[in-house]
């Protein structure tokens, strides 16, 4: 039995085509269709229901001196001491082998309080992992906001929509910055998964439908499903957990070494991850840009000029904004340099491709 977000009924009324994603029945696309939804987000503002994602909080300094900062610097390779309050950092949870348990957004909401957004498909295991690593002899608090919804409003008109509909001027809110309503019943972060300017808005479930309908009433807003969310994130080279990263890929292999804090050497899996950092890795995540005709999707073998298999595509598809077929995947490290000529094998046909820098196009997120 698939789970439903609080907005499921709204999606049905809108005529969404839904499908199973991470145990939820989620909208894949609405009336515009995937391609136009994708283009709408790049030109206007798209509204996504991402309430299936997990929202959790860990906070407090307990009597034994464990702080939430220490805790997050143990479960992730990042540093948090230097993160300003009301700012967000992207990071990963690592296991003992240096693999990625999940990728997540961590927002510092107080001196010692952190709110996180975790992937829907990883919720249960993340929560179990996080709880099991909270020191038993202390009182760091853990909260799972199960009754909260999350809406993403993404696109160049997002700032105007929020100003005109919610009467909040967020034009000066920095990228990865957080705005909190006085009653703590609405949290708006300037970030997303599309490469466009925009926000993720967290509200209690009981406020979600009204918020959705209000935002939808703006002429610049169209509802956008998970299919366009995928093509939008692919153009930005963002990872999709369970595809481009998983518990067997280290942050270094995944090209996410930038999340590792310089001072942080004590996180779970640090021995493997730091070894990868200092001595290199055998395979690396790269962008793939198809030159020949065709579309390559997840699982397609990546070959070198001689036809030798050098890796596998972990995501792939058509990129509407680039009018090209792109993907990402892992290749042997010696082939990871942007510009390297490769081939992707699709239905036994070799399609010429090049290793590409990511993102494939410039992000339009707020600068600064």
């Amino acid at each position: 039995m698939l789970r439903k977000t609080i907005l499921h009924g709204v999606h049905e009324v809108l005529g969404a085509k839904t499908g199973a994603f991470a145990g939820y029945d989620m909208p894949l696309y609405y009336g515009l269709g995937v391609k136009k939804e994708h283009e709408w987000v790049r030109a206007h503002a798209g509204l996504f229901d991402v309430s299936h994602m997990g929202q959790i909080m860990v906070g407090g300094v307990d009597k034994n001196g464990h702080s939430a900062i220490d805790f997050f610097e143990t479960i992730t390779p990042s540093s948090f001491e230097d993160l300003e309050i009301d700012r967000t950092r992207y990071t990963v949870l690592t296991n003992e082998k240096g693999g990625i348990i999940d990728d997540l957004m961590v927002t510092r909401t107080g001196m010692n309080t952190f709110h996180c957004v975790i992937n829907a498909g990883c919720k249960e295991k993340d929560i179990e992992w996080i709880k099991s690593h909270i020191p038993q002899d202390g009182d760091l608090e853990f909260t799972h906001f199960e009754d909260w919804a999350l809406l993403a409003l993404q696109g160049p008109e997002a700032v105007r929509v929020v100003r005109e509909i919610l009467d909040i001027n967020l034009s000066d809110l920095p990228y990865m910055g957080l705005w909190v309503r006085e009653d703590y019943q609405m949290f708006i972060s300037r970030l997303g998964y599309t490469g466009e300017d925009g926000f993720e808005i967290s509200v209690p479930n009981e406020a979600a439908v009204e918020l959705w309908e209000k935002l939808m009433a703006h002429e610049e807003v169209e509802p956008i499903g998970l299919a366009a969310r995928d093509s939008l994130r692919l153009e930005m080279g963002y990872c999709l957990y369970g595809h481009d990263i998983d518990d067997t890929t280290s942050p270094v292999e995944a090209g996410l070494a930038w999340v590792i804090g310089k001072e942080n050497t004590g996180f779970i899996g640090a021995d493997v991850v730091l070894e990868h950092m200092h001595h290199g890795v055998a395979r690396k995540r790269v962008g793939v840009h198809l030159l020949g005709k065709g579309i390559a999707r997840e699982g397609a073998p990546i070959l070198d000029g001689q036809g030798l298999e050098i890796g596998t595509l972990t995501s792939g598809g058509y990129a509407p904004s680039l009018e090209a077929a792109i993907g990402q995947g892992y290749v042997l490290a010696e082939y990871a340099k942007p510009g390297t000529d490769i081939f992707v094998n699709v239905r036994k046909r070799k399609i010429a491709a090049k290793v590409s820098r990511m993102p494939f196009m410039d992000a339009h997120t707020k600068k600064g």
Binding site: G33, V34, A227, Y318, R349
Partner: protein, 125 residues
Amino acid sequence: MAEFKYTKDHECVYVEGDIAFIGISKHARDALGDLVYIELPEIGKSVEKGAEVAVVESVKTAAEIYLPVDGVVVAVNEEMAEAFELVSSPVNEKGWIVKVKVADISALDELMNEAAYAEYLKEID
């Protein structure tokens, strides 16, 4: 009015003499959404019943086109490979993807007609 036949995989077939025009049904087009690529076979290729003869790709997914009968590819719609909207035209006009010469054209009689296909769509919905 042209008579079309349908497969359970949503191919749409039009028969003219011993040539079968193979396209996709409106249901399949709606499910796929905007096409972004069509992979066509070589002319002269022999394809067995149930085997893949072409692939149409949308932003969302790739859909294989299977032949409902043994045949030899005699024409491929190069024009559609450049103008994807043609897939919406009737299969007997510009909406065909491949034309196949079929030895046993009566084998296509077992495909669904318009009414049976409409029923089938209701069943699988």
